[in-house]
């Protein structure tokens, strides 16, 4: 791979992260990681000899293997982190669902506590497509 191509792709990553940041599509705490990775790859693209030097220092015979190993480790870490964030998010969603259901029952009770409001409420239900079609 030529220096120009690797330089181009690493600059592309950094620009993409910056654009996403500007548009609010990426939280800062995740952006920093990608910016660091992007800038490191720019440095590597500019000075490929650095990789050879590093491979030599840690005793890896083929420099590209060092790059691959590091990339795999990094991706492993990232996916583990994403799983963790997902678990937290699911927990938060579950708690919100609990709260919503309790609040909903309280609202129903406060806005006229008789059994007759239950069927009427069913027609308001977003899943009740029959009623919505009739309403239109």
């Amino acid at each position: 791979m030529s220096v120009a191509l690797s330089l181009f792709s690493s600059i592309l990553i950094v620009v993409a992260v910056l654009v996403m940041l500007r548009n609010g599509k990426l939280r800062e705490k995740y952006a920093i990681l990608w910016l660091v990775i992007g800038s490191l790859s720019i440095v590597l693209a500019l000075f490929p000899s650095m990789l050879e030097f590093a491979a030599d220092a840690v005793g890896v015979i083929i420099p590209a293997n060092l790059l691959f190993a590091l990339a795999i480790l990094l991706l492993l870490g990232v996916s583990l982190h994403v799983s963790r964030e997902l678990t937290i998010l699911e927990d938060e969603t579950r708690i919100l669902a609990e709260e919503v259901s309790i609040l909903r029952s309280a609202v129903e009770r406060l806005s006229g506590s008789n059994a007759t409001n239950v069927p009427r409420d069913r027609t308001d239900h977003p899943m009740n497509f029959d009623q919505q079609r009739k309403d239109q």
Partner: protein, 257 residues
Amino acid sequence: MGNRPPSGILIVMPAWNEAEAIGDTIRDIRRVEPGMDILVVDDGSRDDTARIAAEAGAVVLRLPFNLGVGGAMRTGFKYAIRHGYSGVIQVDSDGQHMPEEIAKVVRGLETADISIGARFAGKGDYQAKGPRRWAMSLLAMVISRVAGTRLTDVTSGFRAVNQRGLHQYIDHFPAEYLGDTVDSLVVALKSGCTVTQVPVEMRPRQAGTPSQSPWKASIYLARSGLVLCFALARRSTPRDQHAPSTGDIAGEGPVPV
């Protein structure tokens, strides 16, 4: 809100697409236990479960999507704490648990924080075979050791908890597979709650068949073993919990003023 006698025990019924059975189940319970409040947690049903339950005279909480039995029970526990109930008894909505046995299971709370209505304790004719049976006895054996008392049916959903158990549960009641029975029980025990079991009779399920194929049963054995290991490895939670008041937010801490 808050106008309940603080001695009341709330019946919580997690229900998912139980429109066929739930009406009769609720009417049965109301006939046998007219003084107890019934809360149905509709776990994202696509059928008429919520409407039928409300018409049969239960308070209904409707979860916007399916959370599983564990999640439904957590919601019920939260409701019970906020409304000042002194305990909760979980009853299946498919009519498997007999209303006549509710009082007996609740009475178990006089001696312990958690009272389990057990099927294999010499009453009734509930039978399980093969790997499923092994899984159940293995779970029972290990958890009995943790509990320091003999428990024969730790996967029974027919159980009652008192206020102390409630607060422990709300802090840690896993909403995952088997979390509502095995995991929650182990963690409650590790946090210092006491458990007792009451022999009960159960009806065969009215709708649906329990998984009896050897393959499914083996998966059940493997998964429950895994769940048990995770549960035993979990850190115990501190016991001195404060009661959340109505305004408390989801993490069950007080709202900062």
